[in-house]
Amino acid sequence: QVEGGETYLIKDITVTGNTNFSAQTIIAYSKLRRDEEIQVGGEKIANAVKTLWKSNLFSSIDIYIINIDGNTADLEINLSDLPELKDLTIEGIKKGKKDELISENKLKPGVKVTENLIATTKNYLTNKYRKKGFLNTKVKVTTSQVIDSVEKERVNMLVDINKGEKVKIKSINFEGNDKMTDKKLRKAMKNTKQKSLSPLRILKRSKYIEDDFRTDLVSLVDYYKENGYRDARVISDSISYIDEKTISLDIKVEEGEKYTFGKITFVGNTVYSDRQLALLLGIKEGDTYNGVELRERISDETNPDAQDITNAYQNNGYMFSTINPVEVSAEGNVIDMEIRISEGKPAYFNNVTVVGNDVTNDHVVYREIRTRPGQLYRKSDIIRTIRELGQLGFFDAQQITPNIKNPNPVDGTLDVEYSVVEQGSSQIQLQGGYGGGGFIGTLGLSFNNFSIKDIFKKDAYKPVPRGDGQSLALRLQASQYFQTYSFSFSEPWLGGKKPYQMSTSLSHSKQFLYDSSSGGADKDRSFNITGLTFGLSTRLSKPDDYFVLSQALSFQHYNLNNYTTSLFTFGDGYSNNLSYTVGLSRSDLRVDPIFPTGGSSFSVSAKFSFPYSLVNGVDYKALIDERDGLDASDSSDYERIAEIDQERFKWLEFYKVKFKAEWYQSLTKKFVLRPSMEFGFLGAYNNSRGVIPFERFFVGGDGLANYSLDGREVVQLRGYPNQSLSDTDGGSIYNKFSLELRYPITLGSSAKIYALSFLEAGSSVNEFKDFDPFKLQRSAGFGLRIFMPAFGLLGIDFGHAFDESPYGTQVKNWETHFIIGQQF
């Protein structure tokens, strides 16, 4: 027996007790050393016990002083290991849930069974099921020792879970609410709902979840505050059981007085007048006091484009401005406010830099930046720069951040550094699939952010020369019926001075006629098209800078080789199409290009050829008269018809006008409505020469242009079979209206998924006299779109047609459409 406080020199340390660890390890771990002085009841011993205990490996630890001899003594560490888990039995839940429980709580065999482990397991389970509405969950954890051949202490564990009945909220009762009805208050509680008879509310069930209930009590008070009851509070809340399965919640509130805004005065404003600021604030004397609204009108954190007072200053150079609302007096229930404004100096950008562009060259990035050195600071310019840099597609749009540096309120200057992260923008596409009546193989290479000037530099191939913002694409596609080859290149800033986008493309395609006798392609009968297009487009600055004017010159040579169809009477002929297109478009779709939630886009374009018939002196009237007199079933007449048609279509003479518009409108927080309309007209300058058999409109179906050969335009109208709403050779006039309601399911960066429903109506005719914009074929339906960066856009639509096809194609009740990589 020793008193506390004596000091001994330790001679030896021994380890006893029921432990599997070596004595050396335990001594080293305890940090006790031989030939060291220790004090009985001192810090060293206490620390040793603490460290050993913390290891969570022992169920008991004792340290004894033994063999005291004068001022030397020995130490004995006596400990016993915690039992290890042998078998685990879980009762009361399903197999799949058991695995989850085991991994979440690390209940693997061999784990040390501490009191803590038992307690956390118990708490974990109770909380987990409470969160799901099983308020009466009871969890019992029992352990029992096992004796087996291994000389180790081990236990079996039994976890018995009794979830009990799911508890539903029968009613939520309020007390003390004179000013607000029970119904309104229940509505303010977003996540805790009482049992309802209405079948509409299926998503939110009347479960009781403690955490949700607590947040809802806060929203309840917020609801009062938004309505002027600044002093409102919840005095008490309680749960009472009606029976095993149902509870009722009783909430007692104290409403307090209703407050209103008194005089609102602005102090310190020189740039904006009181009147302008009052207009922006939108709150008048006598309005119900609403702190949340006041804060939002001054600075709305959730919306960077908001029309609030802070933005009015921030978008006009006053970076250093601060705005503070202060309550100056609260007499009775009327609160007088003073909005104190400190404007500061207007700020100008000094240095504007970009970091992180380790692929893209400076000139590609800097020309897109709207904040330039020496320019007045505008927050909106920074926001627009971020959006536009994101739209380039070279950088990860989520990771573009503007860092304001060296803000200097004295000089009125600041630096801004845009930090970007490059993202891969090249694609290799190698695919095979069925479509157009057979197997189609596609090899596509597209390089965005290409650098053509580096193509002869060996070092630049990592793996292709990149960084100048150009795009280059090569595409080969083949099936047994057709082959197409195409090459395209575009430079967004031709000459580097202005955003004149230059694009050029070269394509060649060969199509074989279907041979009904062999069931395959007839290689002797083909239709070749070779095309070359050169286009220029430029962003306009007026009426605003979302407008783009584009022009293109294109040439196509059609060569028919024994390719006779009802459309082509001249089976061995050729045709040339030299045309000029001019288009004007405007698009300010916001924010996500896959799922826009605002903005609109429209385009109008005209494509036309030279009016040859005015100058070439051919009498087309005589030709058409002669043709009308001939009989196509007579072989000699037929030859003459072919000759005449060859003459008519040697150089295609036509004009084509198209108009398209769409809008995106957020309806609630999530639903987006997309109305759209489009119209197209293909005409001839010389009616005797007639409307050409190319460049026509094909309405109906999924809208996918499988292999667009002859300048045809495939127009989507779901619910009907593909191209069923046009003549077999295509129509020359069409119009279409569509209304789509979209709902996002997830908009994460790895996959964006949304559901949609639509109403569509459209038609196409061959002659203007048949055109009636209100005689339309209608349809309705619903569908789903999935966008994944690796696969592009995939979708499925189910459409129901309400009308018959005017061209005799059989229309089913429901049509299924698969959408691949198109229109967004």
Partner: protein
């Protein structure tokens, strides 16, 4: 199977070391690297480790893998501060950073790192045999930064944002007072100011003309032999003329 493959697969550490040295001397960096990579850990703490670590790092250097090389050379200088190879290793590590520096028109993080590393080397070994080369490299890297800022300022002139161009050239001249692009910067600043003044709205025209003329005078005074002086003279004539008509018009309207 070649000797190399046999040795590579064997467990004979000594033989590997011997062969790695031979290959290293024969400048077969890739093969030597593979052997050294295998035995590096085994010799840890032993006297041969210093040599192996150095050779290992040098192999990646010669193979052009400068990120790895600099990393290993830095580690070498940390672990063997007494080594006779210390100076060489420090220099080549810094030079590795130099090789990682990209073309001026991309992000210059590596350039800044390289300058810092080389400067540290220059400070640590003021009498080094590599001093001359180190200074040349620093100069080259500094020029990259100058060129970057200069080209950005010049681009603003090209895309007709003259105000941004003038501001950027002024910032450039402040930041790099000793730059070799100074005379050109003077000229392009004049070019931007000239265009801004000529195309200016009336109420700012006089100030802008005067500003442009002051830039012309600065160019002429500092670089009387500039190759751009001919075009600058033409600009000046036009500026003076505009200023004259502008002031006479102003007098008339008064």
């Amino acid at each position: 199977c070649s000797d190399f493959q046999k040795t590579l697969k064997s467990d004979d550490t000594a033989a590997k070391f011997e062969m790695a040295e031979e290959l290293y001397d024969a400048q077969k960096w890739a093969k030597s690297y593979r052997l050294l990579d295998q035995i590096l850990q085994k010799y840890r703490g032993k006297p041969q480790a210093e040599k192996i670590t150095f050779m290992h790092a040098m192999c990646s250097y010669h193979l052009g893998d400068y990120y790895i090389a600099s990393y290993h050379l830095d580690k070498f200088t940390d672990v063997y501060p007494q080594s006779e190879k210390l100076e060489q290793a420090s220099f080549l590590s810094a030079k590795g950073y130099y090789f990682n520096s990209p073309v001026y028109s991309k992000e210059q993080k590596e350039t800044l790192e390289a300058i810092e590393k080389l400067q540290l080397f220059i400070n640590a070994y003021p009498n080094s045999q590599y001093l001359g080369e180190a200074n040349t490299l620093v100069k080259e890297l500094d020029f990259k930064l100058e060129k970057k800022a200069f080209e950005i300022a010049k681009q603003y002139d090209l895309i007709k944002d003259y105000k941004a161009s003038i501001k950027s050239f002024n910032n450039f001249l402040l930041e790099f007072p000793g730059t070799s692009l100074r005379s050109e910067a003077f000229f392009y600043r004049l070019d931007a100011a000239y265009n801004l003044a000529i195309l200016s709205v009336d109420y700012l025209k006089e100030d802008r003309l005067k500003e442009a003329i002051s830039y012309y005078n600065a160019l002429k005074k500092s670089y009387p032999n500039s190759t751009n002086l001919d075009s600058a003279n033409l600009m000046n004539e036009r500026l003076q003329e505009e200023l004259k008509t502008f002031t006479t018009n102003k007098v008339k309207t008064l």
